[in-house]
């Protein structure tokens, strides 16, 4: 499956460059072969700025008594907002190149260019566009070309994003309509991606009719390493003529810095006046808690109980002096959290911390 739009994948804001190396051991049952054990090593480099995204990925997979294959893929996308009056409209141009080679001499390549229009709102978006793809494999000396109209929508709520996309591949007089759903969640040390898809063709052979789905979990041990566990079925490729297969894989991901699939939203520091704090006017929302304590930079991270104000609101002690502070709440003596509506920063102890600014002036 060719990935959905860069914008639909969250490419709205600048992020630190992403560099990852995965080492995996997989058990794969290809549609065209029996079950194989397949160790692999793969790498990914991604650079994302507010108006473009570049990504380079490659991998090498060995197959039990069946040689090896290498894969290389490059993506580049850029987008602009054409009008001030409709600034939620983005126009995107994207290009993809992919190459696969097996040690027995089989190879295939694919290039694809896409033009898409996006409507982006707060936590919701939709896009429509068209792609032109060209591909060739050793099975067929003639290059295939096809148009791929696409449409899709995404929604993001907290740390969960769902993307539904539809591709209508037109190739050699046949049609290959395809729907894909990807749900991504990131919470604490866990990044989770679940996907499912369906393709039906007008071709008599139905060889590329397919259904697929699976789950990938990355459990971060610390900021530089994660354990990867994934399983399910990946789809066949109409354009490259590659088979689908069922798989289960475990591995490890190494990176200079963890990159979350859904970047945390960083909001402005909350600014409160000393007068408001002293009068008990600074409240934080923690619903469904029976005990809430606060600790932060101002008092050496000593826990202080908050008084309930009703309706899930808790009153911050009036002893805070003016300053810029990092803090957390501890809920029911167990969970350390950042309350709703408070800007968050990456913490030093594998968690997140909130940011609070107390001013002595209105």
């Amino acid at each position: 499956m060719l990935g959905a739009s860069s914008l639909a994948a969250g490419g709205l804001s600048a992020q630190a460059p992403r560099l990852e190396v995965d080492v995996n051991a997989a058990r794969i049952r290809y549609d065209t072969l029996g079950a194989l054990t397949a160790p692999s090593v793969s790498g990914l480099a991604e650079w994302q700025r507010p108006t473009f995204l570049g990504r380079l990925a490659g991998g090498l997979t060995g197959f039990e008594e069946a040689g090896w294959s290498s894969q290389l893929r490059a993506d580049l996308a850029g987008w602009v907002s054409p009008t001030r009056s409709v600034s939620s409209l983005r126009l995107e141009l994207a290009g993809t190149g992919a190459y696969t080679r097996h040690s027995d001499g089989f190879d295939s390549w694919l290039t694809k260019a896409d033009a898409r229009a996006h409507l982006i709102g707060r936590g919701l978006g939709a896009w429509g566009g068209v792609g032109l793809a060209a591909a060739r494999s050793s099975f067929d000396p003639e290059a295939l070309t096809g148009w791929i109209p696409t449409a899709g929508a995404w929604a993001e709520l907290g740390s969960v994003r769902a993307t539904l996309s539809y591709l209508h591949t037109l190739l050699g007089g046949e049609q290959y309509p395809e729907a894909d759903l990807v749900v991504t969640a990131s919470r604490g040390p866990l990044d989770l991606t679940a996907y499912a898809g369906l393709r039906r063709s007008t071709s008599e052979s139905s060889v590329f009719d397919d259904e697929w789905g699976g789950v990938t979990a990355a459990i971060w041990l610390h900021d530089h390493a994660a354990v990867l566990v994934s399983g399910g079925r990946y789809s066949s490729s109409v354009l490259q003529g590659l088979p689908g297969g069922d798989f289960f894989s475990v591995g490890i991901r190494l990176t200079p810095r963890r990159s979350r699939p859904i970047p945390p939203r960083v909001r402005a520091p909350i600014v409160f006046t000393v007068e408001r704090v002293r009068s008990g006017g600074l409240t934080l929302r923690v619903p469904d808690a029976s005990r809430v304590e606060i600790a932060g930079d101002w008092n050496g991270w000593q826990l202080e109980p908050l008084e309930p104000a009703g309706g899930g609101e808790w009153i911050v002690p009036g002893s805070l002096e003016p300053g810029v502070y990092q803090f957390n709440l501890r809920v029911d003596g167990e969970r350390w959290i950042v309350p709703e509506g408070v800007p968050q920063l990456e913490g030093s102890y594998g968690d997140r911390v909130g940011l609070l600014v107390i001013s002595n002036e209105e």
Binding site: A268, E321, P322, V324
Partner: protein, 202 residues
């Protein structure tokens, strides 16, 4: 006027809160931090945070040592740019956060050069880092914050820029336009060369 954090005013003594194993690990780091004039309050706060959250001593030691090294590198970088300048602890902490977002020392130095005598740059540099984190280009963010400092915009107004920016971004404005809208909402005059209709980086 916003004041720098006075964390130590209410913070307990290290020995009263920290177990012996953690003290063994962090005290050499803190002693060297005193020698190197690093922001001691921020390092001590990081120790207390680790203790409160039940982190093992070696983890706390590693976090504090990494933060001290980061402060040391940032202070050295600032001094290279501005050899005669003295830097408050809060300014070094803010500059460290900005450096994490990729703001070059040259751009930080320009903010210092725009400063009226004696004004704290903790808040402007914090805001600079926050704007870059949000996708504003470094030249745009640095240019705006230079202007905010030069114009002596009250810090309580300056600290609201990221929030106003978020509001404009949430309504669909691209970064350059959102920054212009944030300045307009706070009645901050346009920086030179940055008309209200212009959308750099947008």
């Amino acid at each position: 006027m916003l004041l720098p954090a006075s964390a130590l005013a209410q913070a307990p003594a290290l020995e009263a809160r920290v177990d012996a194993a953690t003290l063994d690990v962090v005290q050499p780091v803190l002693r060297q931090a005193v020698v190197d004039s690093l922001p001691l309050d921020a390092l001590r706060a990081k120790v207390f945070e680790g203790v409160a959250k039940g982190a093992p001593p070696d983890r706390i030691g590693r976090v504090v040592a990494e933060l001290a090294n980061e402060f040391r590198a940032v202070r050295a970088g600032l001094r290279t740019q501005m050899p005669a300048m003295r830097f408050a602890d809060g300014e070094v902490v803010a500059a460290t956060m900005a450096r994490r977002q990729g703001v070059p020392f040259e751009d930080l130095a320009q903010v210092w050069q725009a400063r009226p005598s004696g004004a704290s740059l903790e808040v402007p540099v914090t805001v600079l880092g926050e704007l870059v984190r949000r996708g504003v280009s470094i030249p745009d963010a640095a240019g705006v914050m230079n202007h905010v400092v030069r114009q002596q915009i009250p810090l309580d107004v300056a600290i609201q820029i990221p929030g106003r920016f978020d509001g404009a971004r949430g309504a669909g404005s691209p970064p350059g336009q959102a920054l212009a809208e944030a300045l307009r909402a706070l009645n901050i005059p346009d920086p030179p060369g940055r008309g209200r209709g212009r959308r750099p980086g947008g």
